[in-house]
Amino acid sequence: MQNLRIIIILTVLVGLGVPCYSGNNDSFTPWNFNNPAPEEKVITSPSFPGYLLIQSVEIFRKYISPVDGDRCPMYPTCAAYSLQVIKKHGFFIGFVMTAGRLIHENNEMDDAPLIKVGNKCRFYDPVSNNDFWWYSLDNLDK
């Protein structure tokens, strides 16, 4: 009975977190330039925990997300955002900002601009929208 209660709790917790993630990061580049968008530039090389976290998200994107479905209304999707933020800021801040993204996406839809990605409309919430207040002008101004 006790074990059943624990299983139910863990199932509920996983259920709360999983729908927030989503699949592939669509992109559309009409002129086919090779320059990556600033958000995609890797600024820091990830530490070992960061590498593990990246691999976990990659496994999620490859194996779980296709089954779970594309539920994230944002762009970049939460999984893509997580990868970008870990590559940009490392393990700890990446982890915190990923959790922050999952928490704040509800009200973000009130203000975020809608963009068309592939054949879907998504709310635009890039990493720079959430780190501009401490990783802003000096770093962007390069």
């Binding site: 209660r5 915190v96 993204r101």
Partner: protein, 280 residues
């Protein structure tokens, strides 16, 4: 019209149609086949302008740098520098954009110089350097057509400190005490509910697991709860900054709208003008 002129005219027609991608190819073709022609100068300029109009800012800066290096004494140099400065501004390379506009200010005169000062002031607004921005706006002479807009910005900047802002520290502290309350403070009730429920559920789960002696499972849940907890604080602080940013953006949007319709009196002609600036 000879063959050379036809080539150029074709590139120009593509440019006027807005087919910038093909126009660039044609301008490049012209430069390749007729390198000694005078019009190559305009072709180099048009390549930069085409990238600019196609919103390919980085490529525009590169092309306009090429133009500047090849034709340092061109009569089109100031226009090229202006486009380059605008492209750098759009890339948020503010210090580059400031030095580009500074070049125009030093070398130019009249409305060209005033336009550059105006753009410099707008960049300083984007950089949140209110005082320097106000000083730059006040440098625009009264006789300029940009003067009414500059006055509106200049007087608006004096009230910038009175905007209703949210304190990021308060938001962070509130969320640290009770998860979600920082979001409530920054007027994000749905985020507040999510933060409260997620943290509540994970804390409850961790407590239950440790009570039952399931220390490993409890540790795993606690690890994830630490993520939710710090994420909740980060998100609350971030929300306060976003709130303040939104308030400032609305304030400046209002100033921009007000400055787009302005009155101007031309002393030379003794005429009055109502000027409407539109973005298109």
């Amino acid at each position: 019209m000879n063959n050379i002129e036809k080539h150029f005219a074709y590139a120009e027609s593509l440019f006027k149609e807005g087919d910038y991608y093909r126009a660039i190819t044609e301008y490049k073709r012209f430069i390749f086949f007729f390198p000694e022609e005078k019009k190559t100068q305009k072709c180099f300029f048009r390549i930069g302008e085409s990238y600019f109009k196609a919103k390919k800012w980085a490529e525009a800066v590169e092309a306009l740098n090429v133009f500047k290096a090849k034709f340092p004494f061109s009569p089109m140099l100031n226009d090229a520098l202006y486009l380059k400065g605008m492209a750098e501004k759009n890339l948020k390379k503010y210090s580059d954009a400031l030095s580009t506009f500074e070049e125009i200010i030093k070398a130019g005169s009249g409305e060209r110089k005033n336009r550059a000062i105006y753009q410099k002031a707008l960049i300083l607004v984007d950089m949140k350097e209110w005082k320097r921005a106000g000083e730059a706006f006040s440098m625009i002479p009264e006789k300029s057509v940009l003067s009414p807009g500059a006055r509106i910005f200049s007087s608006g900047l004096e009230n910038i400190d009175n905007l209703p802002r949210k304190s990021p520290t308060t938001a962070g502290v509130l969320s640290a005490i009770v998860p979600g309350t920082g979001h409530l403070y920054t007027e994000r009730p749905r985020d507040a509910l999510v933060a409260f429920l997620l943290n509540g559920a994970f804390i409850w789960a961790a407590v239950e697991l440790f009570d039952d002696g399931k220390n490993v499972a409890g540790g795993v849940v606690t690890f994830f709860e630490l993520g939710w907890y710090t994420g909740n604080i980060y998100s609350a602080v971030s929300s306060a900054h976003k709130y303040n940013k939104k308030v400032e953006e609305e304030f400046f949007e209002n100033l921009r709208n007000r400055s787009s319709l302005s009155y101007y009196h031309d002393n030379k002609r003794s005429s009055n003008y109502l000027i409407l600036n539109m973005r298109f």
